[in-house]
Structure formats: structure tokens, C-alpha cells
């Protein structure tokens, strides 16, 4: 477990850990966030967030624009060096991040982008396998600009999964894609997560995406966790159509949007 101390706390309070390495609560957690505070200037963005994610659990983080979703994700990724704040964050050793933009290095090939930072001797073979998994076998030598937006984002998924992450952080990864591509990507992500079993934190503003993918949906509002809703498999796949519609309505109410029937 790596711990990112909050910027304002002089010494990091380590998470309470038993001798066997498991958190004191008894449950094994992949992610544990306690009393997380982050602020840009005088305005607090996160005002005391607590969040646990179990290994292999898929959590979607929903919320209106500016509610602090991305700030929380960036804090978990350790990307907020210059942001003031406090709190205790505990994340696994291997964390991968997928951004809204595919963030491929334009000067490196698809294969070079997937192997970026890998030091194992079999990195290339693993990267080829990961590319095959996302359906891009044979495109290893292409330049990023030769791929479509959806393909670029699939390369980004391959790049994050080739590291066998224990935690996958995804910041609106499909936000820039068209609706049809997005649906395909949902299926792909579901399959990949089922195969690799990382804990996932998906930041999204799309209620349907959250229901389709997540085990648990956390709604963030005003820099705090407003509600947490569990998604049963029947509801997630819409086998239980009434339950699906019900959850959708509840989430929209949580988000302060007047529910519209589908």
C-alpha cells in the first residue's frame, strides 16, 4: 500500500493496519480515503470525503460538473502535488490511469505507447497481447494520429491494463467518443475488467454508463459523498427493467435533475 499524505498535514497519518497487513476494519480494501480535503484558493473542492473500494470492485463516481469528481481521482492518482489539502489516502502499489483524452505520445508508435515505462524483458510480448485484447492486433506500428478516437482510447486501455493494475482510475474515459463507440467501449471495458479483476474507480457524468458498468455508484455533491447506491447484476444488465428505471430515476434525483421517464 502506498500512501499519499495530504499536503497540509505535516506528517502523514498512516492508515491503521494490522500485523497481517489488512486494514483494522477487517475488510480487505484496495482503496481507502479518509477525511479528504482539497481546495483551490479559498474555495473547498473536496470537503471531507470518505471512500473505500474493495479489490475487484467497480465503483462509479457520479456528480455534476465541478463537484470534485476529477479532483478526487487525481488525488488517488497522486497527480495533485500543488493542490492544498489534507486527509489520508491509501491505494495499491500498481495503479493505472485512463484519461478522457487517450494521451498517447504522438511521437511514439502504438506499441511504443503501450510499453511506455515497462521494464520487464517480456514487455513487448505483453503489450502485443494487450493490444490483441482490445482488438488492435496488427496496428502495433501505427502512429497514434492514424487511429480513430475510439481506437486511440482502446490503446490507452491496453496501456493501462498491460501493467496488471490493482486499481484502475478512469476519468471520463469515453466522454469524447460518439454514442455508438461508447456503447462498444462499455462492453470492452466490462470484459477487460472481468478478465483482469482490478478495482475500478470510474468518473463519469453519464448515469446510464454508471449503471451499466458499476457495482456501486457514489454520488458526489458539494465536495462530499452524497449517496451510495449498489447496483445488482440484474439491474446493471437491465434484465430487471423496472429496477433499472427506478435506480436511474433515483440517481437523477440525487444529481438534482428532474427525472424524465425513458
Amino acid at each position: 500500500m502506498a500512501t499519499h499524505p495530504g499536503g497540509l498535514t505535516a506528517a502523514a497519518r498512516p492508515a491503521v493496519v494490522n500485523p497481517d497487513g489488512k486494514p483494522a476494519s477487517g475488510d480487505v480494501t484496495a482503496v481507502s480515503v479518509r477525511d479528504l480535503i482539497r481546495s483551490f484558493g479559498p474555495k473547498g473542492v473536496l470537503n471531507g470525503v470518505d471512500l473505500d473500494i474493495a479489490p475487484g470492485e467497480f465503483v462509479a463516481l457520479l456528480g455534476p460538473s465541478g463537484c470534485g469528481k476529477s479532483t478526487l481521482l487525481r488525488a488517488l492518482a497522486g497527480l495533485d502535488h500543488d493542490v492544498r489539502g489534507s486527509g489520508v489516502i491509501s491505494v495499491p502499489e500498481r495503479v493505472s490511469v485512463v484519461f478522457q483524452d487517450s494521451r498517447l505520445l504522438p511521437w511514439d508508435t502504438v506499441l511504443g505507447n503501450v510499453t511506455l515505462g515497462l521494464q520487464e524483458h517480456d514487455a513487448e510480448a505483453r503489450a502485443r497481447k494487450a493490444l490483441a485484447e482490445v482488438g488492435l492486433a496488427g496496428r502495433e506500428k501505427s502512429w497514434p494520429h492514424e487511429l480513430s478516437g475510439g481506437e486511440q482510447q482502446r490503446v490507452a486501455l491496453a496501456r493501462s491494463l498491460v501493467r496488471e493494475p490493482q486499481l484502475l482510475l478512469a476519468d471520463e474515459p469515453f466522454g469524447a467518443l460518439d454514442a455508438l463507440t461508447r456503447i462498444k467501449m462499455h462492453g470492452l471495458l466490462r470484459d477487460l475488467v472481468a478478465a483482469h479483476r482490478p478495482a475500478v474507480l470510474l468518473v463519469t457524468h453519464d448515469v446510464d454508463e454508471a449503471i451499466a458498468l458499476a457495482d456501486r455508484i457514489v454520488v458526489l455533491d458539494g465536495g462530499r459523498v452524497a449517496t451510495i447506491r449498489t447496483v445488482s447484476p440484474e439491474v446493471g444488465t437491465a434484465a430487471d427493467a423496472a429496477g433499472h428505471e427506478n435506480l436511474r430515476r433515483e440517481l437523477l434525483t440525487d444529481l438534482g435533475v428532474a427525472a424524465v421517464s425513458h
Binding site: V97, L105, L116
Partner: protein
């Protein structure tokens, strides 16, 4: 003026259906804002037109040979000087000076740009002095350099180096500082070491800037060369021209100018060719 011809692009789309040629092809006239397809050897057009203008003016007597020698006289002079070996000899020594100065200038400029671009301390120490050097004309330094190093090769190569490193530094530094922060974040999330970050992100990201600097630098190297060879030299193209001036040999002076021009054009073309190969990942208006 355009770059050297593209060799790696087929003239015809390989999978084009041949029957398409016979079918009707009516499409709305869309306005095209880009410069369109690149054409082979198109870069020769400008220099060729200049040469034609010179030839016609000389042949019609519009241009007095005492002011500017005729092209054929210059070609004949080149033949004579090649036959007795003077042109090659002077060209070799000039090329050596320019090459050495260019080499040291590139190394110094690129290193300083890296130091200044990657650390705040480096920037505080290096950037100011370079900007000051930039404000001082290269010519103004020559008297001091002669006092320090005499008039031999060291002074000449150093003058060229001082002229070359500035554009390399400026453009590489700008390229480096222009690298998108998002890639820096990415490097962090995939756990790149500092060395790998420089190799995988910083250097390739700064390469377009470096090449722009290199084009300025190559031209600048030839310019500095002319200056040092015409002030204090006993060999080189500039010396050959200076000697011709004392004897009123316009044809040799013009030949020297033509040689400088050709050298400049060829080296710029070479840099562009290397640039095109090295930056093949870019998709720009240059095509």
C-alpha cells in the same frame, strides 16, 4: 522555397479502382485552404527562375559583365579553378570550418537548452546570459576573439560556434517548454524514471523545435564563415573571393557567392530531409 522532394509517397493511391477513371466524377467545389499536394522537384522552381533571369539579362546585355559576370563565365571560371584544384581545396577548408563550428554549436546549444529547460536553477543561470549573447552581434565579438585566440582556426571555429548555438538553444528550449503538461502527467502515472522521462517524452517532444533551430543554425554557420574568412584568412572560399577583389576578378567573386548559395540551399535541404524522416509522426500543413 520548398523542401526536398518526398520519396516515400506513392504517386497514385495503390488500391484505387481502375474503372473509377472512366466513371463520372462530379463533386461540389469545396474551398481548400491547405497548400495541396506536394510536387516533386518543385523546390527547384524558385532558384531556377532566378538563374533564368540572370542568364537572360546577361545575354541581352541588360547586365554589364563588369557589374555582374555572365553565368557562363562563372561556370567557365569554376571549371578552371576545379582543374587547378584551387576550388576544391578552398571548399574543403571552408566546409571543415563550418562543419566543426556547427558541430560544437549544436552540442553546446542543445545541452544548455536541456539544462535550462529541465531545471529552474539551470534556467536562472543559463537563460539570461544566452539572451545577452543573442543581443550582441556576432561581428562585434570578433576583435575580442582575435585578441584572445589569434587569427588561426580556433578563432574561426569559435566564431561560428557562437553564432550557431544561440538559435539551437532558443528553439530547443522553446520546444522543450512547449511540451504538453498532460504528457508529463502521463509519464508520472506510468512510473517513468527521470532518465526515461527525458528519453521518451522530453527529447522527442523538443525535436521539432531543435530542427527549426538547426535550420537557422546551418544558415548561420555559412554566414559566420563568410565573415571570418573575409577578415582574416589565408584559405577558404571567402579568402578566394577577397583575393579576387584585389585583382578585380568579378567572375571569381560571383563564383564564390554562387558556391555559398548552393551550399546554403543544399544544407538546408538536407536538414529538411532529415527532419521529415525524424518527425514522420507529425501531421502538418507541410505534408
Amino acid at each position: 522555397m520548398s523542401a526536398a522532394p518526398v520519396l516515400d509517397r506513392p504517386a497514385v493511391e495503390p488500391h484505387l479502382d481502375p474503372t473509377l477513371a472512366t466513371r463520372e466524377d462530379i463533386r461540389p467545389a469545396g474551398r481548400r485552404l491547405g497548400p495541396g499536394r506536394r510536387r516533386r522537384l518543385a523546390w527547384l522552381l524558385g532558384p531556377g527562375a532566378l538563374l533564368a533571369l540572370w542568364t537572360i539579362s546577361s545575354a541581352t546585355g541588360l547586365l554589364d559583365p563588369r557589374i555582374l559576370s555572365e553565368p557562363w563565365t562563372v561556370v567557365a571560371t569554376a571549371g578552371e579553378l576545379l582543374a587547378d584544384g584551387r576550388l576544391q581545396e578552398n571548399l574543403a577548408i571552408s566546409a571543415q570550418r563550418a562543419g566543426l563550428g556547427l558541430f560544437f554549436g549544436i552540442v553546446v546549444g542543445a545541452l544548455l537548452a536541456l539544462l535550462s529547460g529541465l531545471s529552474r536553477v539551470g534556467e536562472a543561470l543559463i537563460d539570461g546570459p544566452v539572451q545577452i549573447k543573442r543581443a550582441i552581434p556576432g561581428l562585434a565579438l570578433i576583435p575580442l576573439l582575435i585578441l584572445w585566440f589569434g587569427i588561426d582556426e580556433t578563432m574561426k571555429v569559435l566564431t561560428i560556434t557562437l553564432g550557431v548555438f544561440v538559435p539551437i538553444y532558443l528553439q530547443t528550449h522553446a520546444g522543450l517548454r512547449g511540451i504538453d503538461l498532460r504528457y508529463v502527467e502521463l509519464a508520472q502515472t506510468v512510473g517513468l524514471s527521470r532518465a526515461a522521462f527525458i528519453r521518451k517524452v522530453v527529447l522527442p517532444g523538443a525535436l521539432p523545435g531543435f530542427f527549426l533551430g538547426l535550420r537557422f543554425a546551418v544558415t548561420g554557420a555559412w554566414v559566420s564563415l563568410v565573415v571570418v574568412e573575409q577578415i582574416n584568412a589565408t584559405s577558404g572560399i571567402g579568402y578566394m573571393m577577397e583575393l579576387a577583389r584585389t585583382y578585380g576578378q568579378t567572375n571569381i567573386i560571383v563564383l564564390g557567392l554562387a558556391v555559398y548559395g548552393i551550399l546554403g540551399l543544399v544544407s538546408d535541404g538536407a536538414v529538411r530531409l532529415i527532419e521529415r524522416k525524424a518527425l514522420s509522426w507529425q501531421r502538418t500543413l507541410a505534408g
